[in-house]
Symmetry: C2
Subunit: 210 residues, 2 copies
């Protein structure tokens, strides 16, 4: 399975690196191509880098890991190439001070992205866990399994994302249709506030117990 | 510590019953006074029932466990009596089909209640866990501790609520100021959708791992 990562920041880097360890063919890409190259090199495991365009063309699954403000630029560059592909939206559309959701609750980043890309199979995922947890390549914290929630409207696309989450060792939790991103994005905000403002640090996560 | 419970539905009944077991003097109250009486009797442990007015007058902490739609009626009946008291808001303002939040994300049930009762010390809590978990009187599920999140602007009021959560054996998690109810109410919606639509049942919960 070929995974393109768009964005070479902490989220893209750490998830891509881990995915490459569990046998995904990972192609890193970013506006800063040199940085994508460095990230690919650091990841090892035959990870490659490419332009955003080539990365998307080669991949089955694309992880969108850019700041929400950069989404429109990505869409204008590779929008048509995403037709029929699985697009994982890991973004969080926060206000500038990180204290609120820029889009409110009557929509979500995932739904806005799906509106821009009606032919892509958008799945919200990986947005409720800190990059440092992905970087640790350990799906448990203090022995407790961390849940990675995903939401989307396409059954097969969701299954592929669930498979990726599970291969990384996380507890994959189906949170429902893409609209449920409206629940996952505030959960990310809670996670961020617990980690920073409330002093728990970034080695934290939610475990869905059942 | 005297706890008044307003509302004799599943949430009020099960939290009140448990609190009475951990030595809170619990006074059940409801619009249906006979029902409150029955609930108090079933709770044992010297739990009492009273009119909503008397219950509030006697108590240090008040648990508001009515449907969100009934909040205004409670406020008009006992609003002034809540001055200076700790009011735990356990409500969730859901849309009629339980699929969304009636108040959106630019405010929260807790903040709206605090606006109606500027002199009460409102703390959001107990809204992200199913009543059946409270009814079980077991703060763990499958051996994992369940987190009960609380949010509020008054430090002492929060400490009292945290103490109550802890005495019940739960993991008490400070989620920040009352505004953070905007994160906890969507979390409740996620919990409800996982329990019902997504088939996990009601013996579920979130564990905040750190």
């Amino acid at each position: 399975m070929k995974l393109a990562v768009i964005g070479s920041g902490n989220i893209g880097k750490s998830i891509g690196e881990w995915a490459s360890k569990v046998n995904y063919e990972v192609i890193f890409s970013a506006k800063n191509e040199q940085h994508a190259q460095e990230v690919a090199k650091a990841a090892g495991n035959h990870a490659k880098s490419a332009t955003v365009k080539s990365a998307v063309e080669m991949a089955d699954i694309i992880l969108l890991a850019v700041p929400y403000g950069a989404v429109k630029e990505v869409v204008s560059e590779v929008g048509p190439l995403l037709k029929g592909k699985v697009l994982i939206d890991a973004t969080n559309a926060l206000t500038a001070d990180f204290s609120g959701l820029a889009l409110g609750f009557t929509t979500s980043a995932a739904e806005e992205i799906a509106k821009l890309l009606p032919e892509a199979k958008v799945v919200k995922a990986f947005n409720t866990v800190f990059a440092s947890v992905y970087a640790s390549q350990n799906p448990k914290i203090k022995g407790q399994p961390i849940s990675v929630f995903y939401a989307g409207d396409d059954y097969e696309a969701k299954a592929k994302v669930a498979d990726m989450i599970t291969k990384m060792g996380f507890d994959a939790v189906d949170a429902g249709p893409l609209k449920a991103a409206r629940n996952l994005e505030p959960m990310a905000l809670l996670n961020i506030s617990l980690g920073y403002g409330l002093g728990h640090g970034t080695s934290i996560g939610f475990s869905f117990v059942r």
